[in-house]
């Protein structure tokens, strides 16, 4: 029964994360042809996940918040599609910029999350 409880918590957290991603991602403009919506949710989500990972906050929030909400808030499929689509349209430069910025910003986000957790 424990796994069913976990599944329910993950699902509830996940549906909230998906809605937040839909709203935040949709509110972001495309800057010079670069899709910034996915970049924004991925960076924010990685930052928060890193903070929770390195902070001393108890593990009772792990299912709904980290696995559910943050796992759903950040996404890989749309990122992969957008990167491919830019390449398909012949913008290898934009495609590479999209990949590099997602990886770089999220690594910086993870670093900042760790920093915040050690300071608090």
């Amino acid at each position: 029964m424990a796994i069913l409880t976990s599944m329910l918590l993950v699902g509830l957290g996940g549906s909230i994360g998906a809605c937040l991603r839909f709203l935040v991602s949709g509110a972001m403009p495309s800057i010079n042809g670069l899709p910034t919506g996915t970049l924004t949710v991925n960076t924010i989500g990685t930052f928060i996940l890193a903070f929770f990972t390195y902070s001393t906050i108890g593990s009772d929030i792990i299912y709904p918040v980290t696995i559910g909400t943050l796992g759903s808030f950040t996404t890989f499929s749309t990122f992969a599609y957008e990167s491919f689509h830019l390449m398909e349209e012949g913008s290898f430069y934009l495609s590479f910029t999209n990949i590099a910025s997602n990886v770089t910003f999220c690594l910086i986000g993870a670093g900042l999350g760790w920093l915040l957790a050690t300071l608090i």
Binding site: G11, F22, G68, S72, Y81, S83, V103
Partner: protein
């Protein structure tokens, strides 16, 4: 309270997608599980987008439910990065290149498959 309909589709898809990811994580080992969900989800999203693009039919509700909701929640970027930062530099680079390269390649496969299916060239 009246929920706006697009958000409802995304929420239900998000619920199912995150539970599916959680179950994959229960079965496979890190970071293979992340690689699996990211590649599988990217392929299915590519299939969804290109199939409808080539057939020219409208799929706004399906896109909200399956694309943004389910696949968006099934695949994840935050866990992928958090696993990457705990690896040694060489493995981390291989993890980044492998996840992104193969995910983009399967989107290409999904596009090719959708195109061939629509043309029925076999």
């Amino acid at each position: 309270m009246k929920i706006p309909l697009p958000v409802f589709y995304v929420a239900v898809g998000g619920f199912l997608g995150s539970v599916s990811r959680f179950l994959v994580f229960e079965w496979l080992y890190n970071p293979i599980d992340t690689f699996f969900v990211n590649v599988a989800g990217s392929f299915l999203l590519g299939l969804l987008i290109y199939y409808f693009e080539y057939t020219g039919s409208s799929y706004s509700q399906l896109k909200l439910f399956l694309g943004i909701g389910f696949m968006g929640s099934f695949t994840t970027f935050s866990t992928f990065i958090m696993q990457t930062v705990t690896m040694n530099p060489l493995l981390a680079m291989a993890n980044v290149a492998g996840n992104i390269g193969i995910a983009m390649f399967v989107v290409y496969l999904a596009r090719t498959g959708s195109f061939l299916y629509q043309r029925r060239v076999w």
